[in-house]
Symmetry: C2
Subunit: 179 residues, 2 copies
Amino acid sequence: MEHNLEHTIALLERTPATLNALLRDLPEAWTSPNEGENTFSAFDVVGHLIHGERTDWMPRTKRLLESGESVPFDKFDRLAQERDSIGKTLPQLLDEFARLRAENIAALRALNLKADDFSRRGRHQMLGVVTLSQLIATWAAHDLTHLHQISRVMAHQYRDAVGPWTKFLGVMQCNGHSE
Amino acid sequence: MEHNLEHTIALLERTPATLNALLRDLPEAWTSPNEGENTFSAFDVVGHLIHGERTDWMPRTKRLLESGESVPFDKFDRLAQERDSIGKTLPQLLDEFARLRAENIAALRALNLKADDFSRRGRHQMLGVVTLSQLIATWAAHDLTHLHQISRVMAHQYRDAVGPWTKFLGVMQCNGHSE
């Protein structure tokens, strides 16, 4: 389907509660392990989403609206959470994500974007010219890619435990490991 | 990690609330479409999970405990929801899933399984001999495979909308399409 702002916001609004329902007070045996070297745990993902709320989606939206294609977006630090999450608990991160997301959705609504605005263009430092519509759709799809990742990372912890069933479980076959 | 009943139950308990937070009252533009012919929508997945609660996990656990390897599990109907979900709304299915899951977790706890029980063996009609530990671990991993699937099916609806970002989104690359 084409991008639809209300559909996007409906999804963006639900992600904090979804992660809260899935992860809060879940044993660390599920939330701390990752899939191996240089991969994210569920804990890491929540920190990564927080960093996106702070530095990616709304800052890029504002850059695009203010500067168009003339000033590219700032580079996103995919590993910021290794620094920023130190000393924090997962419940603290879930609370922080929920607060930032609510603020950003309010800021997005306050822009009062009109149909014409969605074709406005900005510049991504690697992808080149992108539209506002693509940027905001990606915000929602990025939530889904990390929900997809969290379910895969957690399932990975039971790869041996499920024995022969592993071949019936799509999540054990997934190769969608990029971010 | 090895199978751990309390870890498994912690996950099984959270899935209804997770799906509720993600899907309840979400626009049908997200929950009705699938990934193409013979694939599941988010709506289909919830119906499929309900059928699992009714016919798969606890009935198989009881079969294994009662009959060991001598009587194989009944075959699971992967498409039962096409029949059973007719005329129901997604909120109704979410409620039904939550109720059945709570009943089944209570039934699982009531079995008072001991460490020795988890190595008891049953027979899967295709996989052959399986252990109780593997069966119960798969119950939880099956939740994760369908959370993984739902996030992928929903992201698929924005495949075009995200434009060039599709190559950065792992969920758009996922090939873990089996069940």
